[in-house]
């Protein structure tokens, strides 16, 4: 309610007062209780509480991120996420899953129609994957406020999903070599469509500088995996003879208890080996990921400022391994801490070089779901 002659809008705001921008993560208490509460309610609601749980975590983590001392604010609700998921479920997943189940039921799992149905479902999933990413991002941005101003993503999620799908296909065709160029394209779209208030983010740059690191990782992959394989096999004592023994295994031979215990151990060690391989693969590729993150941040501009991200392969490895251990040892209950760690990583390492005319940032005029796209806008497809 305003008294007086005029409301104090943009007209009265001081112009040209460009200022520095700092980002920091300030710890707030309450994450432990939040984790426990989310877990318990998740159990009694057969995991349906996950939408509200996600919202609780985002609220906590968002408000711990301070930009120029002022916290971010997450205004999304669990109900919105739930409704969005319900729509996806009713319009897409339920018809398809029950259709495939019915096909399996009537014709059997090996029938052509059943397999065809599953393929169509899979293809649709791939086609909609990009759309899901884009819409989830749009939802989160529109629910992220700083100083009362919200973010937006202004492009079309359909054309983005096409780009994303094309990038996936191309990656397969080029044996991965299109990845840096296509990742750049995707990032260009995601950042270029993004606004804070009415002020756009800009993204420009070329993928060339990524290729040296990409080539290194691509070429090193087979060597590293081979080397690791040799080390693992020599340590675990699985000689060639043992392998032959496994392949000559006779299913009709009566099993003694020791031999089945031995088999269990073998199965376990195979799992362990696969696990180690996956980790080694991921660790190797953080070399590339770190480079990409740094470069993409450099290519991102806002007003008169440019972003700088101090991401290194070593710090990413620490982050990811830490997250994995938290999830493994808390059986997923510690998931909020993973979100916190990732937000903290970005907030701690992201800096803004140059100045932003903060007072000139106008509130976003993009329609919120209330008037615009209806419930579709609310659908966040994390749990796709």
């Amino acid at each position: 309610m305003a008294f007086g002659q005029a409301g104090f809008g943009a007209a009265s705001a001081p112009r040209g007062s460009a200022s520095q921008v700092t980002i920091e993560y300030v710890d707030r208490p309450g994450l432990l209780w939040l984790s426990i509460k989310n877990f318990l309610l998740g159990v009694v609601t057969l995991s349906i509480y996950r939408f509200w749980a996600k919202t609780n975590v985002r609220r906590h983590v968002w408000s711990s991120v301070r930009v120029n001392g002022e916290p971010l604010e997450y205004t999304g609700t669990g109900g919105e996420l739930f409704l969005g998921a319900l729509i996806i479920l009713g319009a897409l997943i339920l018809p398809f899953v029950s259709g495939i189940l019915a096909l399996q039921f009537i014709f059997g799992p090996e029938h052509v129609l059943t397999i065809l149905g599953q393929l169509v479902f899979l293809l649709l999933g791939f086609l909609l994957w990009g759309m899901a990413i884009y819409r989830a991002r749009r939802y989160r941005l529109s629910r992220t406020l700083w100083r009362g101003i919200r973010g937006t993503l202004t492009g079309s999620s359909t054309s983005f999903s096409m780009l994303y799908f094309g990038a996936m296909l191309l990656r397969g065709i080029t044996l991965g070599w299109s990845t840096p160029a296509m990742n750049l394209n995707i990032q260009e779209r995601l950042i270029g469509d993004m606004k804070f208030g009415e002020t756009p983010f800009r993204f420009s740059g070329v993928a060339g500088p990524l290729y040296a690191r990409y080539a290194l990782c691509w070429l090193a992959t087979p060597f590293v995996l081979l080397l690791l394989g040799l080390v693992v096999f020599s340590i675990s004592g699985l000689s060639v003879d043992a392998l032959q023994d496994i392949s000559a295994f006779d299913p009709d031979r009566p099993k003694s208890e020791e031999s089945s215990a031995g088999e269990a151990a073998q199965v376990l060690s195979i799992f362990a080996i696969v696990f180690i391989f996956i980790i080694a693969y991921a660790l190797l590729w953080t070399l590339y990921t770190a480079r990409e993150m740094v470069l993409f941040a450099e290519y991102t501009k806002f007003d008169n400022a440019q972003f700088k991200l101090n991401a290194t392969a070593a710090s990413l490895v620490t982050l990811w391994l830490g997250n994995m251990f938290i999830l493994l040892f808390t059986l997923g209950i510690g998931q909020p801490y993973v979100v916190q760690r990732m937000a903290r990583y970005m907030a701690d390492r992201l800096s803004v070089i140059g100045t932003v005319d903060i007072a000139a940032i106008q509130q976003s005029t993009a329609t919120l779901d209330k008037r615009g796209e209806g419930l579709l806008d609310a659908f966040d497809v994390d749990g796709f």
């Binding site: 005029a6 809008g9 609601t45 349906i48 039921f105 059997g108 208030g197």
Partner: protein, 360 residues
């Protein structure tokens, strides 16, 4: 109390920060803004806290009249006053929160139970009555394949003929004609079960251990009860429903777990009420057809004696008749022998001998 006090204000139209002076009126806050010559009025009742208020931290407020505007009140007496005048800002007491948490937990558990009951009990039975015959036939094909794939069917011609005499004798007494077929598989477990589309299966072991045709007739009458009430169809619909719910609850697309259908089928049993329905049907059928229920009673008694001897503890015990047809004293008592002279023999002695040799 500081009146007026200084605060930071964001108007929700630009990201500019405004230093404002705030005074208290009788019913709310008056926000004075020097440069804009404006006074905003925020009644206490419309205030909301952006974050839960914390001692020694700035209090971040918004107001229902201007949802994207933010007023940041520094720690101090003004903050305390606002919190007292607008009690909705304060976090609710721990006890209330704990109660709300418990209420929510219990409520959602109740919802899950109710929905689960609907999915497990009501819907399958209703749906199974609507399934067209061709679907039920296909269901039966699939179940028969997955349950009996490696088992030999018993084909002795004389035995089959005699058994079908027995079957038509049992079914003849039915109110409405029952569509069913009876097959014998040479399995070592003592069991009989109904599959969709009226396919009843008896095991060779069941026939070998039977001491009288009345025993087999009683078992068949019971299975016909399941057929008549479409219990097998409902059971399969139930399994699919459970899978669907699981895939929804976990957010993943289900579908390829159907390979384990046979296993689930064996694990799930008919409910007690389904068994009672089948028993009622069987008793009625036997009474009308002048078949002595003593046979079924003897059969049940033999089974429970066997399980008393610990036979059920073996692996066979997990798949035999008792595991899918739980027994109780009352259930055995339910089948009372007929008065002398009322019962007529089910099949001739020669036919009974043929039936006993059906798997040889």
């Amino acid at each position: 109390m500081a009146n007026p006090f200084g605060a930071q204000y964001f108007d929700g139209r630009t990201a500019a920060s405004h230093q404002v002076r705030v005074r208290f009126s009788a019913s709310g806050l008056l926000i004075e803004h020097d440069s804009a010559n404006t006074i905003l009025q925020w009644p206490f009742s419309g205030l909301t806290a952006i974050e839960r208020p914390q001692e020694g931290h700035p209090l971040r407020l918004s107001h229902s009249s201007e949802k994207s505007a933010r007023l940041i009140v520094p720690p101090g007496p003004a903050q305390t006053y606002i919190l007292n005048r607008a009690p909705q800002l304060k976090a609710s007491p721990v006890l209330r929160r704990a109660l709300r948490f418990a209420g929510f937990a219990v409520g959602s558990l109740a919802c899950v139970v109710i929905i689960g009951y609907a999915i497990l009990n009501l819907a399958p039975q209703l749906l199974s009555d609507q399934l067209p015959l061709s679907w039920r036939e296909r269901l039966a094909d699939q179940t028969e394949r997955s349950l009996l794939k490696d088992t030999k069917r018993c084909h002795n011609p004389a035995g089959k003929q005699a058994l079908s005499r027995l079957a038509s004798r049992v079914a003849a007494a039915a109110d409405e004609p029952v569509e069913f077929s009876l097959r014998v598989y040479d399995m070592p477990i003592i069991n009989a079960f109904a599959m969709p589309a009226g396919r009843v299966v008896m095991t060779g072991a069941l026939i070998r251990q039977a001491d009288s045709p009345e025993e087999l007739a009683g078992v068949l009458a019971h299975e016909l009860g399941h057929v008549e009430h479409r219990h097998p169809e409902a059971q399969l619909v139930r399994v699919v429903g459970i899978q669907l719910v699981l895939s929804i609850a976990t957010g993943g697309g289900g579908g390829d777990q159907l390979g384990s259908l046979a296993g689930i089928f064996a694990i799930l049993r008919y409910t007690r009420s389904a068994e009672e329905q089948a028993d009622d049907y069987a008793l009625e059928l036997m009474e009308r057809g002048d078949i002595d229920p003593k046979g079924l009673r003897q059969f049940f008694e033999k089974l429970s004696k066997k399980s008393g001897e610990g036979a059920s503890k073996t692996l066979d015990g997990l798949t035999d008749m008792l595991s899918t047809h739980p027994l109780s004293r009352e259930r055995v008592e339910y089948f009372k022998p007929m008065a002398p002279g009322q019962a007529r023999p089910v099949v001739s002695a020669a036919e009974w001998q043929a039936i006993k040799r059906i798997c040889s």
